[in-house]
């Protein structure tokens, strides 16, 4: 039996991210107080007051902050993907998010590369925002 890939436990701080992905939109949180974008964690921002936070659609363009090519997969569900790339991406708007870079050439990736979002539909219930290297 093929192992099933993990799905997120959707919560109030991630619901709109995953729901908008189904509509092929990338949405993250935005602090009206500090004019900063983020996803889930306020750790990389100065945003504090939760009353002044809203969700905004962003461009889906950004740069690779760091990445790793995975050879020892995160469980049986990812064996077929090896080698695959997981990256931390700084969106042009400032939020840092983590996802996969889809590429045929895992050797040809560098920190600072420009990337853009694509939406990988798993089924009617779940779509994952992933990234490709911009041409």
């Amino acid at each position: 039996m093929e192992a099933k890939k993990p799905r997120p436990t959707i919560d109030p701080d991630s619901k709109i991210y995953w729901e908008s992905a189904k509509l092929n939109k990338l949405m993250v949180q935005y602090s009206k107080d500090t004019n900063e974008y983020f996803l889930y964690s306020k750790q990389l921002t100065n945003a504090q007051d939760s009353k002044n936070i809203e969700w905004k659609e962003v461009s889906g363009k950004g740069k690779i902050y760091s990445y790793t090519v995975i050879y020892a997969p995160a469980g049986p569900a990812f064996v077929e993907e090896v080698p695959y790339v997981v990256a931390s991406i700084t969106l042009n708007e400032g939020a840092r998010i983590i996802s996969n870079i889809i590429t045929d050439n895992t050797e040809n990736i560098s920190i600072g590369d420009n990337v853009e979002v694509i939406f990988e539909k798993q089924d009617d219930e779940f779509t994952i925002p992933k990234f490709i290297i911009s041409k």
Partner: protein
Amino acid sequence: MDREPCIVGVSDFPLTDRGRAAEGNSELTIQKYCAEEALKQAGLKFSDIDGLAVAGMWGIPGPGLMQPNLLVEYLGIKSPKWLEGTNIGGSTFLLHVNHAYQAIKAGLCDTVLILYGSLQKSNMSRVLGDRPALYSNQFEVVSGLPLPVGGYALAAQRHMATYGSTRETLAEIAVSTRAWATMNENAAFQTPLSIDEAISSKPIASPLHRSDCCLVTDGGGAVVITTHEKSKDLNTKPIFIRGFGESNSHSSINYMPNMAHLEIATNSSTKAFNMAKLSVKDIDLTMIYDSFTITVLLTLEAIGFCKLGEGKDFVKNQRTSPGGEFALNTNGGGLSYCHPGMYGIFTIIESTRQLWGICGKRQLNSPQNALCNGTGGVLSSSTTLILSKESN
């Protein structure tokens, strides 16, 4: 009465067969053994213990969620006055020492037992996947980031791109740590490792290869802390807790503020040095939690043993090997001695033994001050301790 807190007993758990506990052990028997050995070394009894600190990753879900309750029951500690069960990852036990120091100094209790035990190798409970996609790490789990190694790999890649460190830099650390392990008869790996072997070991999550990753072993440890006054009647010479600090910044690696600088280690060590009124120049032995080789590189720089980005020169040409200029991880570390999942307690045990001068073949020449640093989670939490033969 001189309430200055000091370490008076330590023990680790003997392992065989590349890091396995003998058959017939549980996480509880491992901790009981370590507690008895550490108390015997000091000349104390269980009835002297009035404070307990414990953390681990076993028995969850279940009684392992409340380990202080289970250990007090199992060991028969009557009416403890002080309990500590905080878990911030492998750095935890240094935090337990910090908190025990404050409790003893304040008179809340006199004698604290700190405990850890694990059977993760025998139980084969350590896996790269199967982490629940919860809270801030739901995004990386869905992306297939193997944890914790993938998190450390992201930091390593960022450090290399920022400062020009290389796979050879990381190999220097793996090789020197193994060289120390050849002199520890309780180490899981005691055969020397070469730079070429380290570099050509199997890739796990680039840029990290097998030789950059800590072992998966069983194991356990105990540390006993009491007042300077009480220590005068005991078997061992007191090892004083001169300084400490703790800090954290994130849970998921994606939210580490700067992946090329372990700022929390700068924070925790600065507090420790200020309290001890000592500086890096005064440290004779440095024990850094080597969950991965990159952890050591990041921590050396963050503490200030060298400037940010200069770690690659600092560890070059086996400077941290036996006989080298800088004594680092003399027990063979989590990379080659043992790594039961939460390694931090072993930095305290080795530092204490080195300061006592009982380390046999690997004994340093009369060290006075030792620095212990623990990292927990995915570079999430940092704790620093400065231990010394002399009190503040």
